[in-house]
């Protein structure tokens, strides 16, 4: 148990919550039920994995929630509901995500604006662009083919019964971010950058490029999260909201250290699943909204305290 906590502080908590979910609801005793849990948690988990790059490099990305909103709106505005334009829309939102990530990264790396401030600025700007583009309410919906990523699934899968596309996207992005952070030279540079940027620069690390890349990864994950969320529930201007802070909280629960240098994708993913499981269990138990918020706050603080105790 101790070793487990050391390896991943969120894991025990997650297991307890999953057990509670399974105990409380007949749905989660089935394969498809659990798959639907993963489907709904996927956007937060993916976003958290992306945010982890920025967090480990020592920064914050508060703009990802707004970017989710912009992605959903852009998807609707570009396609105007026509499936034929889905490819164009997909390419565009990836482009938009890269742009936002680059702007965040450039402002932090070259203008030396602290990332909290930079991404607060882009949070406002990106949300503003989404709203201005749609005029406050998007004039069309997302075409079915774009929605299928967040909504569709493969049926008759052995073991789990069904396999939502979201879950496939989740696994793919976990694998990709894990590889990038823990298996490549780039990943090692990210850790060093968060630990001691000066030392990294003097050792030949292209710190500015690495930093920009971290923001780009975070933004691309936000784009994917946006596609999944938009696909799951359709276009709306309220989607996205407080996702950025939730991702930070999830990462911290998963043992990522704010201000950089330490953390892991496995931890971040567990942290995000834990956070989402907390939401789900509180729903299942049926506590009222005020109590639920309070419990969320308390668990967040306790989980973070547990993590810091570890050191």
């Amino acid at each position: 148990m101790k070793a487990l906590i050391k390896y991943n502080p969120a894991l025990p908590l997650l297991l307890i919550l999953l057990a509670l979910m399974i105990y409380l609801s007949p749905l989660y005793q089935t394969g498809p039920g659990l798959m639907s849990f993963l489907q709904r948690a996927a956007p937060l988990v993916i976003l958290t994995c992306g945010a982890t790059f920025v967090l480990i490099s020592g920064g914050f990305d508060l703009s990802s929630g707004s970017l989710i909103t912009l992605v959903v709106i852009a998807g609707a505005m570009i396609t105007r509901g026509d499936p034929a334009f889905a490819g164009l829309a997909l390419a565009s939102v990836v482009g938009i995500g890269l742009c936002v990530g680059m702007i965040n990264g450039l402002a932090v790396a070259f203008l030396k604006v602290p990332s909290i401030i930079t991404t607060l600025g882009t949070l406002l700007a990106v949300k503003g662009i989404a709203m201005a583009w749609s005029g406050g309410a998007p004039s069309s919906s997302l075409p079915e083919n774009m929605r299928s990523l967040g909504r569709g699934r493969i049926d008759d899968v052995p073991l789990t019964g069904s396999l939502p596309y979201s879950v496939i996207a989740l696994i793919a992005s976990l694998a990709a971010t894990y590889w990038l952070l823990h298996r490549t030279n780039f990943g090692r540079m990210v850790f060093m950058l968060g630990d001691n940027p000066r030392a990294a620069a003097l050792a030949g690390v292209p710190t500015q490029r690495v930093r920009i890349a971290c923001f780009a990864v975070s933004s691309l994950c936000a784009v994917l999260a946006g596609l999944l969320l938009g696909g799951y529930s359709g276009v709306s201007v309220d989607v996205g909201g407080d996702y950025a802070l939730q991702a930070v909280a999830a990462a911290v629960i998963g043992g990522v250290v704010l201000l950089g240098g330490r953390g892991s994708i496995a931890g971040a993913a567990c942290g995000a699943l834990t956070l989402y499981a907390i939401f789900t269990v509180l729903n299942l138990v049926g506590v009222s909204q005020p109590v639920r918020l309070a419990v969320q706050g308390a668990i967040l603080v306790l989980a973070a305290a547990m993590t810091s105790r570890r050191e």
Partner: protein, 357 residues
């Protein structure tokens, strides 16, 4: 403000109005009103053209977008009467709206002030201040003072909530499970809707299995429905206080391969369309966006010294049932367009409201 009025009396009054016949032209519901005094406004009369100022709470949801577009179109209908139309958007912030209004007052460039208050109580002091300088019209939400020349609104939240709740009660089996999805606590417009529905549900033999705030977020709404399905296994009806989330509710059932329950909504195109296509049982009480037109018309009447219904200009509030539904559907219009905009005959319709050409 729900707490400051006699709820039962207000409730009864609204219910009575729903079956009453309004005054004014039946084909222009935005010009109609229910039995109120027509107030003399000659004291405010002055020669045109007029400088109209509008302090808006926000354009934070689709209903307000439809309304705001309609309002601008209405302004364009009066090129000779309106010299200028100054606009300030408080972005949902009471404190900013107070500053915005004071800045209008200070500018001296307004002949009349239209206010769509963000929070009733909070805007009361500054509206009182404004009333001392110029005629004020409020619409949508109101303020807790009678100083504005008139407060434009439709019949009200109680009637809205009751209409949908009555339909739910009539269409679910005895002891059926009802899930309630709400937007946010503390906004009178939503609180009244729920207050009425709560009463209806309490008196009928249905079980409210949950009462959740989803903040107008479809993803949250959909996930909440799935959570409730997994908890209770069966839902007979979902009552919402805001129509934007209704389609997400329907999708939740669709995705889980379950039969649709009764799903209430509003007069948004996508809800009406889904209701038609998916064939669930539904109802769309409306909170007509055409009141944004009425506010401008009221302002002009006041400045011209023409009588207006006062202290409240109560507009009709149709409830769309399955029988009337298809007449409100126009696939050209954007999914989040509100059908009761009263804008069909305005110039630029439907492109100006975002229709695909």
């Amino acid at each position: 403000q729900v707490a400051n009025v006699d709820i039962d009396k207000e409730h009864a009054a609204q219910v009575a109005l729903m079956s009453a016949t309004p005054n004014g032209p039946a084909d222009k519901p935005w010009e109609q009103w229910f039995d109120a005094e027509l107030a003399d406004t000659s004291a405010h009369a002055k020669p045109g053209p007029y400088r109209v100022c509008f302090s808006n709470a926000s354009v934070s949801n689709a209903w307000r977008v439809t309304g705001w577009t309609t309002m601008k179109a209405e302004v364009d209908l009066h090129p000779n009467e309106i010299a200028s139309f100054d606009y300030a958007d408080a972005q949902g912030n009471d404190d900013k709206q107070i500053s915005d209004i004071r800045s209008f007052l200070n500018s001296g460039s307004c002949d009349v002030l239209i206010v769509s208050p963000n929070t009733s109580a909070a805007l009361t002091p500054v509206v009182e201040e404004a009333c001392k300088q110029l005629p004020v019209i409020t619409f949508d939400r109101s303020v807790n003072t009678s100083c504005p020349v008139t407060a434009v609104r439709s019949i009200g939240g109680y009637a809205w909530g009751k209409a949908a709740a009555d339909y739910v009660v009539a269409n679910v089996p005895k002891g059926g499970n009802v899930l309630v999805l709400r937007t946010a606590p503390g906004l009178d417009i939503f609180e009244t809707r729920w207050a009425a529905a709560e009463k209806v549900f309490a008196e009928a033999d249905v079980k409210v299995i949950g009462n959740e705030f989803v903040g107008g977020d479809r993803a949250k709404a959909k996930a909440t429905v799935v959570d409730y399905l997994s908890r209770t296994g069966h839902i007979d009806a979902v009552w919402v206080d805001l129509g934007v989330v209704s389609v997400a509710v329907a999708e939740a059932f669709q995705d889980m391969g379950l039969p649709y329950p009764v799903i209430t909504g509003e007069d948004e195109q996508d809800y009406l369309q889904a209701w038609k296509d998916d064939g669930f049982k539904g109802i769309a009480p409306t909170y007509p966006a055409f009141q944004w037109r009425t506010a401008v018309q009221a302002a002009l009447k006041v400045l011209k010294g023409e009588p207006v219904p006062a202290p409240e200009w109560i507009l009709p509030q149709p409830v769309i049932t399955e029988a009337e539904r298809d007449a409100f559907i126009d696939p050209q219009l954007p999914p989040l367009h509100f059908a009761t905009c009263g804008c069909e005959s305005m110039p630029g319709y439907p492109q100006r409201w975002g229709a695909n050409d």
